[in-house]
Every structure is written in structure tokens, then in C-alpha cells.
């Protein structure tokens, strides 16, 4: 059974982390410290509300996929919904895919070529991007308490846009959120993530390094990441000579370390992630999703959640107007429907996936 409080906490934590990290994206920890001291307050847009990025909007898209297809979701379904909801609006009204990462842009081109998953995810070179990890949390909400099932669903989605390490990163986040949704302690949550990715993988190595450095496996006291933690984490998991910071093995490891150090407390976990720098909006969104799932809606600082409003649809027009709270409630309801429905087994395909009529429904409904 999906706890609505935790579902909301997860998506609010994700949205808050995303918004807090936005101005710090791609900055080094020293630059963040120079500019803000410690960045803890959400920047406001012209309407007084926080401004989210692709992390929140693509997570809302994941929620839409689960609402529509449930656990019967296939990679073909995901590819079809990308074509309907992401590519078709671009073709109707050509313009930039604002805020989209290389993996999303590359996937759009691969799908336009007519490639299908898993080749669509391998065609572009950014298979390692954290684009799946950033949108994977809803799989953990939907499959709360079932890390393996959450990871399976994230892998089904990831086959469209990612390959190798990017898929591992998404599976790790989905599994971690699934266990965090039960209120399990952070150390167990990260173990659940490690259990769904190969030990001999880049992500496996960076996450284990994070666990070693964060060293908070048995501590329930939140720790603010200090210079030592920051330097050690950067040395162990950051790829120094790459101009891009959106590498899943790196981002997921930084997010997990921030969450472990924060002992699962929302504010400390999220601010830890942001202040570690690199792909700060995504790392903080992941840390926020984990901590929010564990602590529930009440665990997200009120001053943050009060500024989280409906998505603007800047990156994905299809999700404009959708509020993360409503998406969380809908995810919980979708999970409930499956659990109470006839003859449901994990991963079993439903007879008829609910087809809501493509992108217009997505725009309206979700």
C-alpha cells in the first residue's frame, strides 16, 4: 500500500531539491560557497513561487506513464508517449527543448529516425546521463516496498533513452525510493539500490565509494557535509576532465552520499547535495526524493513546500499546470488500483492499458 504522505513527501522533496539546485547547477562547491555561503533558500520566480527544471517535469511525465499504463508499462509504450507528448508538440510548434539534457535531445533524434528501444537509447552517446535517474523516483513511489519491481519499471523506461550506466543509475534511484517509502533507514535504502545494479559497474563502484566516505551507515544524526567530505567525494566519484556534470554514476553517488550524511532528514540531505556542486539540481532532486519518501510531506520544510506550485511546462509542455501533490496522490491511487485489482502479480501485463488519447490527455490529465 502506498502511503500518500510519503508519496507527496517524495515528489515535494524532489521538486524542492530541483528548485534549490537550479542556480547552482554546474558550479564547483567553492563557487557555491563564494556566492551563497551555504545555499538553503529556494530562489523565487516572478510569481513568487520556486522555479523547477527538467527534473521535476520529467518526473511528472513518469507519473503520467504509471497512471496510464501501471505495471504493464512496456518500452514500446514509453517510446510511443515520447513521440506523442514530447516530439509531436515540438513538431507542431518548433522551438528549443528548453532545459533538456543531451540524452533527451539525442533520444528525440533517435526516435525521429524511427529507431526503437533499446537501440534508441544506445544510438546517442549519452547513455550514461542522469536523465533517467532524475525521473525515476515515481517508480519507487508506485512500487513502494518492492525495490526490484521499481528497478524493473525504471529499466523499461530507460531502454528508450539510456544504455548501460544511465540505466543502472535510474534503477538504483527507483529501488532506493521504493525502500525509502517504507521508512527504512538510509543505510538499508542505499543497500537496496546496490542490490539492483551490477557490483562490477561504474555506478556500483561510485556508490560504494560514497557509502565509504559518507560513513553514516549507523548514524541517525544528520551531518552537514564539510570540506573533507566534499573533497573526498569529488576525488572518488567526480570525473574532473569532463565538461559535463550529468553523469549518472557521479550524480547518483553524490546524491546518495548527501542523503546518507543527512541521515535521511530532508533539509540536510537536500542542502548537502546542492552544496556539493556539479549537477546540483539533479543530485538534490534525488536526495530530496529519498528523504521526502522517508519523512513524508511533513518532513519537507514548510518554507520550501509553500513555494512549490504547478509545473510551468518550460521543458515539457505536456506537464504544464500539473502539481506534484496531485501527481503523488494519483500515483498512490494507481498503485492501489493495481493492488486491489483482480489477479495482479508484479510485472503482470494488464489486458488493456488505459489509453488516454495521447499527449492532449497527458497535458490535460496529468
Amino acid at each position: 500500500m502506498v502511503d500518500r504522505q510519503r508519496a507527496r513527501g517524495c515528489l515535494l522533496g524532489l521538486a524542492a531539491g530541483d528548485a534549490l539546485g537550479r542556480p547552482a547547477e554546474n558550479l564547483a562547491p567553492e563557487e557555491i560557497a563564494g556566492r551563497w555561503g551555504r545555499l538553503t533558500e529556494l530562489a523565487r520566480g516572478p510569481d513568487g513561487m520556486a522555479v523547477g527544471t527538467d527534473d521535476t517535469e520529467y518526473a511528472l511525465f513518469t507519473a503520467f506513464l504509471l497512471e496510464t499504463y501501471g505495471s504493464a508499462l512496456s518500452s514500446g509504450d514509453v517510446a510511443r508517449e515520447w513521440r506523442r507528448n514530447i516530439i509531436a508538440p515540438l513538431d507542431e510548434r518548433p522551438g528549443p527543448m528548453r532545459g533538456a539534457g543531451f540524452s533527451e535531445l539525442g533520444t528525440v533524434q533517435a526516435l525521429r529516425r524511427g529507431l526503437e528501444p533499446p537501440l534508441s537509447g544506445r544510438w546517442q552517446q549519452h547513455g550514461w546521463s542522469d536523465g533517467l535517474a532524475m525521473r525515476a523516483a515515481p517508480y519507487g513511489v508506485f512500487a513502494a516496498g518492492e525495490p526490484a519491481e521499481a528497478a524493473r519499471l525504471a529499466g523499461v523506461d530507460g531502454a528508450v533513452s539510456h544504455g548501460g550506466e544511465g540505466v543502472h543509475g535510474g534503477r538504483a534511484v527507483a529501488a532506493a525510493v521504493a525502500l525509502a517509502m517504507t521508512g527504512a533507514p538510509p543505510a538499508q535504502v542505499i543497500d537496496a539500490a546496490l542490490a539492483v545494479i551490477p557490483a562490477d559497474s561504474w555506478t556500483g563502484r561510485t556508490v560504494r565509494a560514497s557509502v565509504r566516505i559518507a560513513g553514516a551507515r549507523r548514524s541517525a544524526i544528520p551531518v552537514i557535509a564539510d570540506e573533507r567530505h566534499t573533497a573526498d567525494l569529488h576525488e572518488a566519484v567526480v570525473v574532473r576532465h569532463c565538461p559535463w556534470a550529468d553523469l549518472a554514476p557521479e550524480a547518483v553517488a553524490l546524491a546518495f552520499a548527501a542523503y546518507l550524511l543527512g541521515a535521511g532528514e530532508v533539509e540536510v540531505s537536500v542542502t548537502n547535495a546542492v552544496n556539493l556542486g556539479r549537477d546540483a539540481d539533479t543530485t538534490a532532486a534525488i536526495a530530496g526524493a529519498l528523504a521526502g519518501a522517508g519523512q513524508g510531506e511533513d518532513g519537507v520544510p514548510e518554507r520550501w513546500s509553500a513555494r512549490i506550485g504547478p509545473a510551468r511546462g518550460t521543458c515539457l509542455r505536456a506537464v504544464a499546470g500539473r502539481d506534484v501533490r496531485d501527481a503523488a496522490d494519483a500515483l498512490a491511487a494507481a498503485a492501489r488500483r493495481e493492488h486491489t485489482g483482480p489477479g495482479r502479480a508484479p510485472g503482470a501485463r494488464r489486458e488493456q492499458p488505459r489509453d488516454q488519447g495521447g499527449w492532449r490527455a497527458c497535458r490535460r490529465g496529468i
Binding site: W202, H241, C242
Partner: protein
Amino acid sequence: MGLAIGDAAGWPAARHRSGLLAPWTRRLARELDEFAEEHRLTTLPVPFTLNQPVTALQVGPSDDAEWLAWTARGLRTDRRAAFQALAGAPGLRVRMSVRAALDNLRRGIGPPASGHDNPHFFDDAAAVRAVAFGAAHPGDPARAARAGRADAEITNAEDGVHGAAAMAAAVSVAVVGEPVATVVTAALAELPEHTAIRCAAGAALTAAELAGDAFAAVPLLDAAVQDHVYSYGVAAAQTIPVALALTRASGGALMSAVPAAACLPSLADSAPALTGALTGALTGYAALPGGWRRSARVLPGCCLPCLAGADLAQIADHVAAGRTDRATPPHSDARRMTGHV
């Protein structure tokens, strides 16, 4: 020499070679680029020497030829040890895959993880090096591919390693005078189904077949392998398919294949070099234009300073001598060898 000629023919060679000049010349070029942007000028600042020696910017080989020469010289050195010895060398300029691999080796992460835990695992740095393994194992594509893969795993993974194996295998059959079709087949045998590089190779070969000529194939190849989302220029899944396609479309003639490869601006760093390696071997040293042979022969040391002034033809002869040692006699083979390295 074919690889070096292709390397020299692509516009990025001048960029690489400008690394030999004082840093302020490159800073000035960046500032002029900014100025041109600001004033909406179409005049592109290209590398210049100003009051520096001008030889560096004459047409000549650059990064790819140097990495091939470095590999050819160290065929008997343990590959991991060879890379570790490079770390910290002054003036070293490397691909991102190699830089990340050197960092991994420093942290105690060896192959294959050093090539796998790597943001540019997909690039063709190892494919360029693999030409040396193809030359060192003439007529034995399987062995050439094995050696190419072992070296490639230090800096690359997946398509980056498959691409290296494909180049090693293709060169290995090209240097013994097999026909173009056999060369292409040897490469394809190293590209597993359901990989991006295999898919792109299929698309590129089809495009070349439709065009019927190397230069005519240029726009079709651009459409077949490039999405232009981000110009890496050096993704193995793009450059090797182009090299194979142009080799086939030109019937193995370097003089028509390399200029066509150089016409794909985003791939012009290494696609002409890889194309040159394959077609140089098929064309043979004697048939290569004398001006290009002379210009491409001496390495500048722009990426590997230890190779400044090294004579590529001599290095190729040494590789050929290695073959002679293993009782593969003929003089004509030695000429072919020089023809491609």
C-alpha cells in the same frame, strides 16, 4: 602514411598543431572569435602563428598520427604500463577518454574498468591506435582484433572497443592485399548486432552504395550517422562507419575517399585519418601522392612531445621489420605496410 595523410587533411589538424605555439596565440584566436561574434563578422579566426615559427601550421599530421606512432613503437610494451608511463608527461594532449583512463589508472582502477568508468568510452581513440595492431598482424584479423581490443579496454568500452577491433581486423586484411569487400567484412565481423556502431555501419554502407561514389556520399553519410545534437566528432559509432563506407564507395582509393571524409566537418578530426588508414593500405605507398607523403611524414609532437620530429615512414618500416622477423618476406608487403601506417 595513409592515416597520417587523412589526419593532415582534416581541418582540426591545424588546431592540434597550433598547440605547439605559444599559448597567447590561441588566446588571441579565442578573443578574435569573440570579437567576430560580437561584431557579426563571418571571418573565422583560424590558427595563426603571428611572430612564431610558421612550420607548425603547414599542412601536416597531428594527434591521430602521433597516437598511432606511439602505439606502433610500443607494440611489445605492456599496454597498461605504457599508459601509466605517459601520465604526467609534460605537454601531453589527449582525448577525453584517455584523460579519464589515466585518472582511473592513477586511482588504481585498471582495465577494463579504466575504459568503462569513462565518459568518453565511446570515442575512437583506441580505433586509431588499433591500426598499429592491424599492421603488426598482417593477414590475421582475429589476432589483430584481439590485440586491438586488449589495448582499447584501457581507454574505452563497448562501441569504442568494438570499433578498435574492427579497425585492427580491417587493416590486417587490407595490408595483405585483400579486396575492399573482404576488408569491410572483416571489420563488420567485429561489430556485434544491436550496437549503435553496427547499426550506423549498416546505414553508412547503404548510403555509400546508393551514392556510388565517395564524394557523392557525403550528404547521405551526414544524414545516416550524425544527429548533430552534440558534435563529439570522434564517436567510434560515427567515424568508423564513415571510414568503412567511404572505403567501399571509393573502391579503396585514398585519393577519393580521404577528401570526402574531410568534407564532413563535424567528423573531420578522425574520420579522414581512419579512412586514410584503410585506403592507404589498399592503395599502397607508391601510389600515394608524393606531396602528401612528404607533408605527412614528420610528426610535430603536438600531442605527444616525445615524438616531435619522428619519421613515420621509419616507424612503419620497423613494424614491417617485425613482420619480416616472423618470416613474412616480401618487399612489396613492406611497401604496403608503409602505405597505410
